[in-house]
Amino acid sequence: MKIIGLFIVVLTGGFLIYAAADFPAWGDPNSPASLHVSPYYLETTVELTHVPNAVTSVVADYRGYDTMFETTVIFTAGVVCFFVLRALGRKGLREESQERLYRHVLTGVTVRVKAGGKIPESSDFQRIDVSWTPPDLIIKTICRLLVPFIQLFGLYVICFGHYSPGGGFQGGVILGASIIVYAISTDLRSAVQRFREKTDALLAATGVFIYAGTGALCLLLGFNFLDYHALAPILFVDRVMARSHGIFIVEVGVGIAVMSTMIWIYNVLASRGHYDEGL
């Protein structure tokens, strides 16, 4: 296999290098790629959409249709991970049918409960992971302190995408990362308690639905799909600002979808689909 692999790789690489000889020089401002379509975006982004960041305006407006599917790709990935790994119902393992560990908080004694066993109803017993390490005060405190700031930054990135690098996708990932950090620093169960799986899945669907629904709304108002001009009478602004606001609405949708999907995928992967024990 290694020899075949090497052969294919050398062949393909040689072919690509051979073809690269005809490329325009790196960084040439007069290359065809820089002259044909892209100047239009740079010239008209402020004039037509009021968005100085050309990348944001192209992502969410000129080529917004791509981005809608891009968000759908992420959502699909979440659905597929859930579908493949998540253990549910009779095929899946209910909590009682599994061996699990509890810790008696007052004495520090660890109790192993065999499959099918029950624990006395008492708040003294705390469920712990199989590979449990005592909670580290420093890590726990710092992560708790950090989480709100990470979230604030994520919101800033989503809202300020018009004027600086960033936007719905990056902000969404940062927001998702804040919950993931919380899940890692404490344990998965307490993170899931704050952000339930159902909420998560519904939010993910809602986020993408906001995007596609905005497009469909434009269509219902008699314009083409995703033509944000249509939103002008609803948002009480002129047509150019309508584009700007349309981009913002869409970015928020992307942010929500990406955030929830990232958390969803992490939870499913880290708990092997059981949603009980994480990293």
Partner: protein, 135 residues
């Protein structure tokens, strides 16, 4: 000397992207471990992203965020080409989506076969089939 350096620099990005891409492709074909293959797959994808980003570069230009707000015409040559950046945002997202799905499959396969090595999995499948055939 300056000229040679210039020509190397002019296409250096393209050589690197081809190197990385071949690295990823080789890992996907020749590596035995499923997670290593997934790493190779991601290297393969980032190499293509590097290629696209290299297309968008203009010398002595700045990031594609407009500075003058109103009035005079935009000097296009002063800003990098935004279109490849847009395309690659999508490609990165697709990359992480594929990564998540691939890892989910890897975990599921590990649950079934208790190994991530391709040859060991294939051996297990073969023994199982032989047993099925006998029974």
């Amino acid at each position: 000397m300056e000229d040679i350096v210039q020509t190397v620099v002019a296409k250096y990005n393209y050589w690197i992207y081809i190197t990385l891409m071949m690295l990823g492709l080789y890992a996907m074909i020749a590596k035995n471990n499923l997670i290593k293959k997934i790493v190779g797959m991601n290297i393969f994808q980032t190499a293509i992203i590097l290629f696209y980003v290299s297309i968008g570069v203009k010398k002595n230009a700045t990031i594609p965020i407009m500075q003058e707000v109103h009035g005079h015409a935009v000097n296009v040559a002063a800003y990098h080409n935004p279109l490849p950046h847009v395309l690659m945002l999508t490609a990165i997202v697709v990359g992480v989506a594929t990564l998540g799905v691939a890892l989910a499959f890897a975990i599921r396969i590990y649950n079934q076969y208790k190994t991530l090595e391709e040859d060991e999995i294939l051996a297990q499948i073969r023994t199982r089939e032989e047993q099925m055939g006998k029974i």
